[in-house]
């Protein structure tokens, strides 16, 4: 299997009313990479995720994932994309099972009921399958959100601040799910403020500051202490790259 150039971003720029959110991002990931992207508020992390997910159009530059034609047929790409955010995308008045069956049907899964059952088992929610989502804790909603993002067996997973609002045990559980997903050779891009968990999970680490990717390294060569120091410098805006 060709691992190179799974995700290729070139010269990506995005402006909102004259304010530059992204100022020229270049990035290349191989299949199976897990990139943790850190950055202060307003660095452009969510904008980058939303552009990759085709929810936003860039002002200039390009995003390419495998051989998908993201301009002409974005729906073919979205059919193989999973997104987990701090927002669950779940319907509060439907049960966990109904939510998963609905999303599975939208993605054209042949047997939505069986898929929902399988994923509920995977995230440990079978005993609450028929409870309304409105009664779920934040941690349970995030587990269900993981199941939702997997209904289409995605090749690329985008995670936007997935640890937001989770308590310690829910965060540990999320990390273990992410490790398992990475182990299945899925390509993952996660933006987060949680340095510890972001570093734990990643195979590559990046820092986004003032709309630019100012730091990108393989996780293996990074000392967590040094990285934290570098991150804090970018957070304070000391280096201007």
């Amino acid at each position: 299997m060709d691992r190179s150039g799974f995700l290729r971003i070139e010269g990506l720029r995005k402006s909102y009313d004259g304010v530059d959110a992204l100022r020229g991002i270049d990035l290349e990931l191989e299949r199976g990479d897990f990139l943790s992207l850190f950055g202060p508020n307003g660095a452009g992390k969510t904008t980058l995720i939303r552009i990759i997910a085709t929810l936003l159009k860039p002002s200039s530059g390009s995003v390419r994932v495998m051989d998908f034609d993201m301009e002409e047929h974005p729906e073919e790409f979205r059919a193989r994309l999973g997104v987990i955010s701090h927002q669950s995308f779940l319907y509060s008045d439907l049960s966990a099972r109904e939510n998963l069956e609905f999303y599975a049907a939208l993605y054209g899964v042949s047997d939505p009921a069986a898929k929902a059952e399988e994923l509920l088992g995977l995230v440990g929610l079978l005993d609450r399958a028929d409870s309304k989502v409105s009664g779920f804790s934040r941690g349970m909603q995030q587990r269900l959100s993981i199941a939702r993002a997997l209904v289409n067996d995605p090749v690329l997973l985008l995670l936007d601040e997935p640890y937001t609002g989770l308590d310690q045990s829910a965060s540990i559980l999320l990390s273990s799910h992410l490790r398992r997903l990475h182990g299945q050779h899925r390509t993952i891009v996660m933006v987060t403020h949680d340095l510890k968990r972001g570093l734990e999970a990643a195979s590559k680490v990046g820092i986004l500051a003032r709309g630019k990717l100012v730091y990108l390294k393989e996780r293996g060569g990074i000392d967590p202490g040094e990285f934290e120091h570098a991150y804090l410098r970018y957070l304070k805006g000391v280096p201007d790259v």
Binding site: Y16, R50, A53, T54, L55, L56, K57, E75, E76, R78, A79, L81, V83, S85, Q87, S88, F89, L90, Y91, S92, D93, L94, E98, F102, Y103, A105, L106, Y107, G108, R148
Partner: protein
């Protein structure tokens, strides 16, 4: 169309559980009928056109109440992103939301129109089959325009205020035509004399179906 029907089914199931939109639509429309009945004088025999105006005020104002909710419910937990991230084309989402608005209007009218006959006299029920045709055509026009405008305002903080402000200037010709045709019906005017207005109402719905279908993608997504 399969994707659109999945969304319709989900929305109807949610509404069946919450009974939020339809109950408030029916209640508000019914209340308008009662208030206008008192204002006009209980038991007073009304002209066809005045009676038609009362019927459409009740239907349209109650429909606006439900309109904003059909898309704004997708804002909770950012479910709209869940839909836009799926392989479903935005046009299918528009078709689904238009159908849901249409269905909600029909359900409210099933209560409001008989209530109108009770309050204002069953002589207006003489041309019921044609009234049903008029009502369905107006529903089509209203739900196609309304869904498009509710998508425009769904992302704003003042959704409930902005939606009627934007919507009413556009649907005023539709409401005026609806009153004109319904008034003619109530006055036993021959079909050939108001048929051209009926075609305009139908054209309004079909034109805005196309406009909404083409523009929804640009409206629902961020820049």
């Amino acid at each position: 169309m399969r994707d659109a029907l999945l969304i319709v089914k989900k929305d109807l199931l949610t509404e069946f559980r919450k009974k939020e939109s339809i109950v408030s639509m029916v209640f508000f429309g019914f209340l308008l009928l009662v208030i206008l009945n008192i204002a006009m004088g209980i038991g007073r025999e009304l002209d066809g056109e005045i009676a038609a105006g009362i019927l459409w005020v009740s239907i349209i104002f109650s429909a606006v109440l439900g309109l904003g909710r059909v898309l704004s419910q997708e804002k909770e937990n950012r479910c709209i992103d869940g839909l836009l991230l799926s392989p479903v084309e935005p046009e299918q989402i528009y078709a689904a939301k238009t159908m849901v608005n249409f269905i909600f209007m029909v359900v409210a009218e099933v209560v409001l129109i008989p209530a109108f006959f009770v309050f204002y006299g069953d002589r207006f029920a003489r041309h019921l089959p044609m009234l049903v045709v008029v009502v369905l055509l107006v529903n089509l026009g209203f739900s196609t325009v309304g869904t498009l405008f509710s998508a425009i305002t769904a992302g704003t903080r003042r959704n409930e205020v902005l939606l009627p402000l934007l919507l009413f200037p556009v649907i005023t010709p539709l409401i005026a035509l609806a009153v004109k045709v319904t008034g003619s019906l109530f006055e036993d005017v021959p079909y050939r004399e108001y048929s051209s207005w009926l075609y305009v109402i139908a054209a309004f719905g079909f034109i805005f179906s196309g406009v909404g279908y083409l523009l929804f993608d640009y409206v629902i997504k961020e820049g």
